[in-house]
Symmetry: C3
Subunit: 350 residues, 3 copies
């Protein structure tokens, strides 16, 4: 019953119970047009609830139906009882997902340099530009207004979303996604003082993005002085992230929004960096290191584990540090009083 | 005497005194072509000065004329004496303001999908793109290079400035402004590990921007997993702000530059967040909470008030914390000395 | 032997030794196609190594040849022995550098307002837009998709890279570079509460960028309330930087990525601001002040020097502060124990 336009995808509750597994209680003919949260007001939305708290929220919200645990009793709305509601909801999200689509092969307004190579199955959207020596591989999609600069390559089935810029010498692996407005391949930030003014150090290297990497909206990844700035396979980064020249980010890492990594820092595999955290330049960070949000790594980290704070310290110390911060205002006062007291005691004893 | 091009708007000082209220002293025929600051070098600029300090600055700068308090004596330049100089200057700014204007209805290079709906009074600029099922309401203006994606709606009299992207399923209320390069409706940042690699959680929700919301340049607002990421009416945000999926920002809130709000956090009405402050994920922040610049809210906040620091603490505690930070280097030393001293005293007493 | 396409620039090692100075040891006919790092795997790359550590790395990597100090002994690869390897490598980078180039004068898809002035030697790329009263000076280059708004001026030999926006009343000096996606001239962020909602304060000023300024990708510089937001000559800023309305940044300053400067703050000459550092509004910062990464200047700074921390303190204090942070978790415990101990001692003495 689903049709091809994502905005109108729909199934009945009974159909969904057959797709997702589970058993319907209540009106199985209810038409579901969207996944929803427990507090949604959408009468055709399907949410999930695993705890008493969320069952309560869903019971009183406007949501149409709920995926609930097995043997949930006396629930006032149509449900799918399922052994793993959260997992079923995940499958529901996949069901309703629709990819970004380019409808034409190469839009007549796209400007492709004569030396560029575009695979016949690739697509290039309206007002997109593909410059000299660029290569667009099989199944790749360049969305409207994107700019693929000289000597850039977009790998198989990768997507470059609207307004993204691959400026120069950027190689994108397969199955990557570059978010709207992201800028890859801009010159690294390095200058020397010639006695009179700052002179830019030429950045003649590139950017290597390996397979299955996602890059958020408005994220910047600079090209290297020499060789490449490298994002290893499977890494994901959120919006407004800064990756400086010659950084090497390990495979399967996850960078939350507004993270910054300064020049030439090498980060191991499986890194997780919380929002607004950052790394100083020229550090070496071991595999399996994670930073809590807002953490600043000011020196290299050799042991895997979770770190937090300014400067980065093991998370356990950071948690204690956070507790003390709130009492810090009183510390100086207490210290002064103790010093006075001890001075007095010394006087009495002399 | 003002003409229609903002760059050449001008009035004489006398004309301005009639418009703004107040009385001219000195040359009323002086032509004013721009509001100016007290230290301006513009001989046709009109500044304001309320304090002795700023009167002094204005007297010695190159600015042409000054709005001053009533009965200001012996001032060397033409003035408008006014009972509320700052307020009069605010009115002057409004007088010289000119809106961004699109000159044509729909620019011939704009690309509008056949299923999109554009109100006859709306305008669409050069190289702008409006995708499938998008709706552009009465009086709305889509500026050059803007991208209005599938299933997006732009409300009445809203402006989408150059290079802004509404990627998918973004609903903009009336009288909103989206800054240049802002990206709304990109996928939220969520992954699960399938044992082999990170897999993106589909984000099938949207973004709801209510009426009278301003969004800064290069700000990112992600779409929800399900339902909407919501910015309630009258809220204003500065440049380079990050709003993650499923955030709900209360009405009439003000977010300064580089603020980040992590996923699913709900913020009450009248929030004010200082520059570079941030919120962890899944928090609930009460109405009337403000954060000082650089603050990190790591847990929910139930009481209205101003908070500061990492972690966020009541502003009074934070101010004491800031004072102690500068002395912290000596604390360990003093603590060690005290411990030694007390140990010695104990020895003497035993 | 070098040809004109940067992607295929090449010289033999002997040719390079003649250009850079120094003496070849080993195969002088080796063709060098790129500067490289010591750890590169490029057999036609030329790296430099000054220390035993880097000589070791280069000896075991795949890099083809190395610039080494005079009288380096027994090195296994072709080398250029040079009295200053790092300096020679810098010259090598300049040799391989190629400027961004626009091939046509004014691309047929560029849209130029009839009131705009374009110097005959200037170039305007595909889909770029130049609005009313804009001026593009001699040798200036406006890259594809760039937007030059009303009353903007681009100085001699300045480059505005793809997707950059000069929204309104932005004056760019000569020899500047504006990075991809940067937004200059958006309205400053200021509102007043009218009892019912936030009302925008009109920003009728502009942005003045003086000569030899570089602006990073996705950096935002807002226009002033009145007069100009000013970036003085020779200053350089990295990606994702925020400069608010009416800021005045001193000459030859260097701002690393994700720095934020709040409204009306005046910063002296020769400033260096580390990554993710920030300045509160309305501060006055002396000439010659630098901030370490992540520092927050919350009040004016009168003395030149390096500062760090939150709030900014002299770097020496900050370094001690950083050391204490890691021990802070134990401070409260030790303080409590001391208080108990002193109380006990007092009891014994009374």
């Amino acid at each position: 019953m689903a049709n091809e336009t994502w905005s109108t995808k729909s199934w009945t509750l009974t159909e969904l119970s057959q797709i997702l597994g589970g058993e319907v209680f209540g009106d199985g003919n209810l038409v579901i047009t969207a996944p929803a949260t427990a507090k949604s007001s959408n009468p055709n939305g399907l949410a999930f609830a695993e705890s008493a708290e969320y069952l309560e929220i869903a019971a009183h919200s406007g949501v149409g139906a709920v995926i609930v645990p097995l043997s949930t009793q006396n629930f006032s709305k149509p449900t799918i009882q399922h052994e793993a509601p959260r997992k079923a909801f995940g499958a529901l999200l996949h069901l309703f997902q629709t990819p970004y689509l380019l409808t034409e092969s190469i839009h007549p307004t796209a400007i492709i340099h004569e030396s560029a190579t575009i695979h016949p199955s690739a697509k290039v959207g309206a007002y997109a530009i593909v410059e000299a020596n660029a290569i667009i591989a099989e199944g790749a999609e360049i969305f409207p207004h994107a700019y693929i600069g000289e000597n850039c390559a977009v790998g198989m089935y990768s997507k470059v979303l609207p307004h993204a810029v691959l400026l120069r010498k950027v190689t994108l692996g397969s199955h990557c996604e570059v978010g709207p407005g992201a800028v890859l391949g801009h010159s690294g930030f390095g200058y020397y003082w010639n006695g009179e003014k700052h002179v830019a150090i030429p950045h003649v290297g590139g950017v290597e993005i390996q397979d299955h990497v996602d890059i958020g909206a408005l994220t910047a990844i600079d090209r290297a002085t020499a060789d490449n700035t490298t994002i290893q396979e499977g890494s994901k980064m959120d919006n407004l992230v800064q990756i400086a020249h010659n950084v090497d980010l390990g495979a399967h890492s996850v960078l939350a929004s507004q993270v910054g990594i300064a020049g030439s820092t090498v980060i191991g595999k499986g890194n997780v960096s919380g929002g607004q955290s950052g790394y100083a330049a020229h550090l070496v960070i071991a595999d399996g290191v994670s930073l809590a949000g807002r953490t600043a790594a000011l020196s290299s980290i050799e042991k895997p584990g979770v770190y937090g704070g300014i400067p980065a310290m093991p998370i356990r110390e950071y948690r204690r540090n956070l507790v003390v911060q709130k009492e810090l205002g009183s510390v100086m006062q207490r210290l002064k009083e103790l010093e006075k007291e001890v001075e007095r005691l010394k006087g009495e004893l002399s």
